[in-house]
Amino acid sequence: MSEPILQVDRLQTHFETHSRPVKAVDGVNFTVRAGEILGLVGESGSGKSVTGFSIMGLVDHPGRVVGGSIRFDGQELVGLAGEQLRRYRGRRISMIFQDPMMTLNPVLRIDTQMVETLQAHQDISREAALERCRESLKMVGISAPEARLRNYPHQLSGGMRQRVAIAIALLNDPELIIADEPTTALDVTIQSQILAEVQRLVEQKGVAMILITHDLSVVAGLADRIAVMYAGRIVEQGPSDEIISAPRHPYTSGLIASVPSRNQRHQRLRQIPGMTPSMTHLPEGCPFHPRCPKAQDLCRSEPEDTWEGPRSWRCHFPVGKDESIWS
């Protein structure tokens, strides 16, 4: 196994508010290696996107990385700014967003935007840059790159825009791509096309990827490892197959149990009671304990990560093998 390209250690990103800080990301640890896809899964407000933004240095006031470290290829990214940060952001680390209109400037043609991305980071002629753009568009499965280059974003369909956004993310041959819900806004058949491209690119180019999503079934077949977030913490992580077939944290187990699956039509779905806690009023100790069927008094104190081989979970009473805790 190669050294991880990215090491995130006890990362804390907080947002200042009038009363007390919102701890959007609170002590997150994970690593990603070259050629590996890490699925970062969580519901709204779990801190999965803020984790991605923190790595990209995109957290703005009132938010701030208040603790922990983000090491990319041995270099500490926390605290970098200006020219130093630009050596990494957009060049060696790039990001794909849920809404491609967020990445694309609506009043510029695709070629202008793509050439700009290249020239911002490298000394390259317009001709050479355009050639790279065409290659990049072909790589994401766009069949007529020449014509697409002359289009404006509004002339493209949603799926095509997302392909262009991915092509832009690939332009500078990044070593790490952070994809934040890249297929959530797309239709099923288009989503499948994009996921197939993503899978192929990661395999061919050996790039590392963090795939942020709310949908466990998207990462189940795609990611090598999965990290599940709840209330700003990673509550469980490990190889995808093991997480899906034998979850140890009650929350992961509940998420999996509540997905409608085949052969149980019309039956009541197993559900997690209650709702996701407000980040301003988190329960004491393990933030999941008010919704957890296994909770006991001990759960009012915050559990530590337990490591077992490649897996870890943060729970006082992990789910056993074949144990069914949700009804």
Binding site: A220, G221, P260, R265
Partner: protein, 339 residues
């Protein structure tokens, strides 16, 4: 379930939306510019019957007309062509009292509860508004009735004085459901009603839908792009593509033996919660614009089996097995060798 009487029937219903030309465009046309009014065939000659107590899942991708069809069923759109029958009677022939009854009998639950709840009304007012307007319960009992409805959908009646923004997404959806239930409907049209909810909350709301069906004998038209959800809930599934129904079958049969190439592709492409790396085999091409659909079978440019006839002739929806309908030329033509 199939023996039940039809609750609603759509007969070759179409809905077209036309964008009128603005002043500048009309002037330009006066000077000879070739500007046409643009028409979208959102729903194109669709037949659909929903029986009493049945759950029909309506599946399709964006622009396929599923929401428009749902709105026609809920009475929010008038069809451009075709007939809409309620319990076998065309709606325009209904007596005034029956027409008023129909207006309440089919209720709609929307995708985004924040957009469908008035932010300036309290939850109790939202749920009680239609009840009061239609005088469904005596004024004195209205407060209790609203409390009862809130309890039924799993909301604390003490929250009646709160505004929509003070609830979570799942709770807001429950308010929308309580509002629909309060007028004692026979049928609910759910348009992507769980799509905006988190996974753990989605299961709660789906369970509520199933309980309500049992308790009130409700009929559902459940519109969704999520095949997993539709498979779980529906008795029968209807698949739409660019305004037309391409396949329709009992749920178990549709998922076991999909006939139409589009249905097959959809089922193949759905992400499944299964261990093990998967290979994606996506169908090629984009969803064409509903403003300018391809001729013949709308699906032919993306279809791996398309042959000459598909490019010119629209396939009819034909019964290929009892209760299983599909609109594909492959069913009436021997499969060409090269495919």
């Amino acid at each position: 379930m199939t023996a039940a009487e039809p609750l609603i029937t759509l007969e070759t219903v179409s809905k077209r939306f036309t964008r009128k030309l603005d002043v500048a465009e009309r002037v330009a046309r006066g000077f000879g510019a070739r500007i046409q009014e643009q028409t979208v065939h959102a729903v194109d000659r669709v037949n659909l019957t929903v029986h009493k107590g049945e759950v029909v899942g309506l599946v399709g991708e964006s622009g396929c007309g599923k929401s428009t069809l749902g709105r026609i069923v809920a009475g929010l759109h008038k069809p451009s062509e075709g007939r809409f029958l309620y319990k076998g009677v065309p709606v325009e022939q209904l007596q005034r009292r029956d027409a008023a009854h129909l207006a309440l009998a089919i209720q709609m639950i929307f995708q985004d509860p924040m957009a469908s709840l008035n932010p300036r009304l309290k939850a109790g007012q939202i749920i009680g508004e239609a009840v009061g307007a239609h005088k469904l319960v005596p004024r004195a009992e209205q407060k209790d009735y609203v409390a009862q409805m809130m309890q039924r959908v799993g909301l604390d009646p003490d929250y009646r004085a709160r505004y929509p923004h003070q609830f979570s997404g799942g709770q807001r959806q429950r308010i929308g459901i309580a509002r629909a239930l309060a007028v004692k409907p026979e049928m609910l049209v759910c348009d992507e009603s769980v799509a905006a909810l988190d996974v753990s909350i989605q299961a709660q709301v789906l369970n509520l839908f199933m309980e309500l069906q049992q308790d009130f004998g409700l009929t559902y038209l459940f519109i969704s792009h999520d095949l997993g959800v539709v498979e779980h809930l529906s008795d029968r599934v209807v698949i739409m593509y660019l305004g037309r129904v391409v396949e329709q079958a009992p749920t178990a049969e549709l998922f076991a033996a999909p006939n139409h190439p589009y249905t097959q592709a959809l089922l193949e492409d759905v992400p499944r919660l299964e261990a093990g790396k998967r290979r994606f085999h996506p169908i090629k091409g984009e969803i064409p614009s509903p403003m300018d659909p391809p001729p013949g079978c709308h699906f032919h440019p993306r279809c791996p089996h398309a042959f000459d006839r598909c490019r010119v002739e629209q396939p009819a929806l034909e019964e290929i097995a009892p209760g299983h309908f599909s609109a594909c030329h492959l069913n009436s033509t021997p499969r060409p060798e090269q495919s």
